[in-house]
Symmetry: C2
Subunit: 367 residues, 2 copies
């Protein structure tokens, strides 16, 4: 099996490298003091040291169910399964559907494509446009596969955001063809303006809605979840159990102690949005100034800025950038075109953004 | 996929039920104060909140390598892959070997048998004796499968412990037939007298040696690992990454802060051994007195006491025990005989042991 290019880079670059490659949050935004307090509380509970149930910590599942319900998507605690990040959520679901075919966006998240391969699921990639997946292509594909994997909010890698009418069309197709939707939603809360309701809300009995704390709190907790109808969720619990018994009750409890004061979380997410918006703007402005040939649309949220450098092989460009101490991910890694690039704009500082783009410009001029 | 009977029981019994069913450590032995201190230190580190490397926290891998080396099994840090418990270690290895056949003990650990099914590995169960797996049967099987899964120390469920000469014979068979060994070792440190060197030490380039902190520190941390030669270990890192990216750096760091003073761990393990020895003795004495028909051998370590109740269907007996508030696992769940029972003796208190065995006696007399 092929390793993720991004994670190999993550393991091989040194601390002087400016990385626009990973999907890393800004570490300056981790609410370290609040998480320490939550951690100290959790460490005082006897239950966090022992084995726990496979479905997850009850109060955490209740909190997540309330979060969805408050957002207009009625959900019960037993419609939530806690996983070790949403990567594991996707693994569990695709193991359950082993041997099937799946409709995916092209390009799409590499970690998902790897899992589909690993779990013998053949992918049918349909072109992705800025307003969402190609609708005629999706309808033709889902009719055959009856299973789709989509990232409708600030997609990885393209940053695409599905329009409301696009979401409605997808939901209708799922109903019509008796299909299931895996809706991956790590970036959904990271909008700059206002949220757009999920596709899952329109098809609550036909969808696996994935969630994670990695982008709104801290990836190091490794807390994700699946929101699904009981009929869909119950058989997955045996897979979760076979995979790793259960997610750490200690990290689950830390998460819960932090989340229980929901206002603290809401305020924290507002801060992330505003900071990421400023970073995206700075990144986009710097690109326009320093790499005018780079063709892109400004994303409306999320963590990535995607575009093309016409007539440039971006893998070759990356090889020239590495010794200069700057990295990004060529779009071809995700199944995109050879001239495409995905930039992460959330992890680097404002100065690093300027410096890193400058280094890419030098690498381009050095040809 | 079938759920583990044990974990279903764990989720459905109430707090008044005396459970001899799970493989739960004695919660009174968790070094809560030391773990809290380790936790407070870890919570102060910036790295524990961000994404981390798939292979695991470097100082923790170094510590584990040193632990093996000090015990006479020379190991380098890059021969260790951190996993979310040894359940995940087994999942990763069996995914890599998907489609093969494997020699296993009969009876064997249910969680492993489930994973082999899930990963399309067909099992060839060979009878297990108190001194180890049947040697002629093993030799005939491994020649065909060239892959084996064994739990040589205080096996689950039988408590069997492989004799040194038995280990040597297994190692010779692995060499002769160019076979790989998965040596699961969760209970290896829980001997009452003295350790017996592992089989892996004899075949360091042909073995995956699994380890875990669940039985010597706290299962809630979900920290396990694979010790293997680089050639065997390297391809597994991509599977770990696909599965859940990486294990929580926070729980890894807590483990490391606790472990770094190795003497504290050694002293703690001595305390566990002495306590479990006393509990096993009490359990065995009470069984002899209250259930004289139960035929068993006292284990030399580990967490389980296994035996038979001649002419009794122990699944039917369990159904009569449930309303009386006591549970155990019928041997048939592991592939053992219909009259077999596995008792866990580590989780209950001395009083509960007496009370629980008394309730089983009542259930037997109530027929």
């Amino acid at each position: 099996m092929k390793r993720s290019f991004i994670r190999e880079i993550l393991e091989h670059t040194d601390s002087d490298t400016i990385s626009f490659a990973g999907g890393l949050p800004d570490p300056g935004l981790f609410p370290v003091e609040e998480l320490r307090r939550a951690g100290e509380r959790a460490l005082g509970e006897a239950g966090v040291y022992q084995y726990a149930t496979s479905s997850g910590l009850a109060p955490l599942r209740e909190w997540i169910a309330r979060w969805y319900s408050d957002g207009g998507f009625p959900t019960e605690a037993d419609e939530i399964l806690i996983t070790s990040g949403s990567q594991q959520a996707l693994d569990i679901i695709s193991r359950y559907h082993t041997g099937r075919a799946i409709t995916i966006e092209s390009p799409s998240y590499l970690g998902a494509q790897n899992l589909f391969d690993l779990n013998n699921i053949s992918t049918d990639p349909i072109p992705l446009h800025p307003e969402g997946i190609d609708l005629p292509g999706f309808a033709a594909s889902i009719r055959q596969t009856r299973l789709a994997y989509l990232i409708p909010d600030f997609q990885n890698p393209t940053g695409s955001r599905y329009r409301p009418e696009h979401r409605a069309a997808i939901a209708r197709d799922c109903e019509q063809h008796d299909a299931l939707l895996i809706e991956d939603a790590p970036y959904s809360e990271l909008y700059f303006d206002a949220p757009i309701p999920s596709i899952s809300r329109r098809v609550p009995t036909r969808s696996y809605r994935l969630g994670t704390l990695s982008k709104i709190l801290a990836p190091g907790l490794r807390i994700g979840w699946i929101r699904a109808d009981r009929t869909l969720l119950t058989p997955l619990i045996a897979y979760k159990e076979a995979t790793d018994l259960h997610t750490s009750p200690l990290t689950q409890s830390i998460a819960w102690h932090y989340l229980r004061d929901t206002d603290t979380l809401r305020q924290h997410i507002r801060q992330i949005r505003s900071r990421y918006h400023a970073k995206m703007t700075h990144f986009a402005d710097t690109l326009t100034r320093q790499l005018p040939a780079f063709d892109f649309t400004r994303p409306e949220g999320g963590m990535f800025l995607y575009g093309t450098l016409p007539d440039t092989d971006t893998r070759a460009l990356l090889r020239r950038c590495l010794p200069r101490g700057v990295v990004f991910v060529p779009g071809a890694e995700f199944g995109g075109s050879d001239d495409a690039i995905r930039f992460n704009y959330t992890h680097s500082s404002m100065t690093e953004i300027e410096e890193g783009i400058g280094r890419i410009r030098e690498a381009m001029e050095a040809v």
